[in-house]
Symmetry: C2
Subunit: 367 residues, 2 copies
């Protein structure tokens, strides 16, 4: 194997430093960064063999293989993502867009998601690239740019809405992606192809919340939700309705408002005035508002019968019962789906609409 003997045309390529060149040598610390070449040379094998040890170990004979591995370990070699990317057209990078405005309380679930996505991606050998973009158009522009320049392998989308054009664009351009949230608008639309997504069973969440209150003796359970038209909001409303009907109650105490603490106060007041003795809320902001107003009105009976949604830190701290979305599980599934799609192009979408993640209600008592 001719240890150390430079064979062939003089020195191996990349080693002739025509004295006086020394381009951008980064503050020559004595030890140059190890590369496939340097390892190959040290061992007297070809750099292709070293590459094979990394990518198709079975094609390399045992003695060689362990020798190479030893050297790699010894010098702390790390393959260069740039070079690999240049060659393979893959970056092992996943894109995640930061919401332009975190409205705080509810936004916290997105942050939880981001944490979980990062962790899972890491386990799979991928990393997350986060970017900012205001509005749908800007977001699409960002996809285009990041895909072209940074070769992102795929994107993780959140809060998909009716008439969302991001998914269409990505489909058209054959870029892998997964959505957190069902394709509300497009489902059943024969003209559009399907795509990967995961979702949480909001309906099951409000259903469980409603039953929990019923168990506590509530009869006139009210619902505080978002205006009709948002997929998740309507879904959660359905859960309330079916649970109520199933329990033999009439789901007629309903107040649908934009999400905010203040609106929660107002809606709660109206609902109790109409006779509600308990409240199911589609968010913790609304629940928090409801509790505050109930307290102000001296309705401690109702205060103890409010259930929020998302199980935000505030709910935990203040002691509000809340529906907890299995975000970590969702993140794992999103990443796995996306990576599968990336590594097996051609495969058909793996999501099954019946396969929603089930949230769990935490029962608490306000402090």
């Amino acid at each position: 194997m001719g240890q150390e003997s430079q064979h062939g045309h003089g020195t191996a390529s990349g080693e002739q430093v025509p004295a006086g060149r020394r381009v951008n040598a980064p503050a020559d610390t004595g030890t140059a960064t190890p590369t496939l070449n340097s390892i190959a040379r040290a061992l007297g094998v070809s750099r292709q063999t070293v590459s094979n040890v990394l990518n198709s170990p079975e094609r390399v004979a045992e003695p060689t293989r362990s020798a190479v591995r030893g050297e790699i370990e010894r010098v702390g070699y790390r393959p260069s993502a740039a070079a690999r990317q240049l060659r393979t057209r893959r970056s092992r990078l996943l894109g995640f867009r930061m919401q332009d405005t975190t409205d705080g309380i509810n936004g916290s679930i997105l942050d939880r998601l981001l944490h979980a996505l990062t962790a899972r991606a890491h386990e799979c050998g991928y990393a997350l690239l986060v970017f900012a973009a205001d509005g749908e158009a800007a977001e699409i522009a960002a996809y285009e740019d990041l895909r072209a320049t940074n070769a992102l392998d795929g994107f993780l989308l959140t809060s998909t809405n009716h008439g969302d054009r991001r998914a269409d664009w990505l489909l058209e351009h054959d870029i892998p992606f997964v959505c957190f949230g069902r394709p509300w608008g497009r489902i059943d639309a024969a003209t559009t192809r399907d795509h990967d997504w995961i979702d949480i069973d909001g309906r099951a969440g409000t259903d469980a919340a409603t039953r929990l209150l019923a168990e506590d003796g509530a009869r006139r359970i009210g619902f505080m939700g978002w205006p009709e038209g948002s997929g998740a909001g309507d879904d959660r409303f359905d859960g309330y309705v079916t649970a109520m009907e199933d329990l033999g109650h009439v789901p007629d105490l309903v107040d649908r408002v934009e999400d905010s603490f203040e609106n929660g106060q107002g809606a709660a007041e109206r609902l109790v005035a109409a006779g509600a003795d308990a409240l199911v809320c589609v968010s913790d902001s609304l629940a928090l508002g409801a509790i505050a107003r109930m307290r102000a009105l001296g309705r401690h009976d109702v205060m103890d019968r409010v259930v929020g949604f998302d199980d935000t830190p505030i709910a935990r701290a203040v002691g509000i019962s809340s529906v907890d979305q299995p975000v970590e599980q969702a993140a794992r599934r999103m990443v796995d789906l996306l990576i599968h799609r990336i590594e097996h192009p051609g495969a058909s979408p793996a999501s099954d609409p019946t396969d929603l993640l089930t949230p769990v209600v935490h029962r608490r008592r306000a402090t």
Copy 2:
């Protein structure tokens, strides 16, 4: 200029597709990805000229320049980050570690920071790579790995503590970074070199909070803080002490506990038992706990005189006065410092200890 005429040794490099090769051609959509080469060829100029138009436009004559620009625009050319990175050793990527555990309420300020950092980096032509790592050792290992494989240009550190070894490691390895938080432990330590950081004047925050309460007629103002030993906590304590002394009061109503809602309840109860008629808190969790307990005890007088810290969404919603850290400003400065350091190695640290960002107190009334 011989449009379209291939001059020199046959076709330009990279264009000979020895029929039957067609390696990984990604689903040949008819239009190949534009490159410097393809643009140069289309225009009959050399690829170097195109590169120059991008990187040193002044070296290219006008007619050529605009022709090139037109073509770039027309075909939607984007330089490949991988190729550029391979060549320049720079990725235009900044690293940000996700906290392993977001303890929720207070963690929200980190999320706000991340949003702001992302936005600012984007404006500067950089992107953020987020990664997960549990514990100091793992974080350092992540630096090493990301630096070696992904060529991250620098790192944005948060929550630096006493005896933090991350900064030491990064300094040793000459990797650019900035910290959110003063180098508490190492400041004045002659043995360690200095580094870039920014910080917020916590002392000014509690000072302002204390004065705000005094304006409202409070005399026996209590302080709810963290146990001695944390830089930020001690800093905030100092603000309270100096303000009180300056106002002619004695800063003797002090309770220092670990940060949590529950501890906030306990501390508040002890302090009012000792005679406090107002409370300055170093976090919104503590403030929230304080308010809850005051309400339970019927001390509405004190309830209206609680100031929190961080101005989290909950504080805004519930109506707690709170000290708002100028996070967006901090983020801008962090990114700018880091990028400066990256693009001008050798320059000395730019942070000036006297140059802290000043928070502002928002006055609110609980709902």
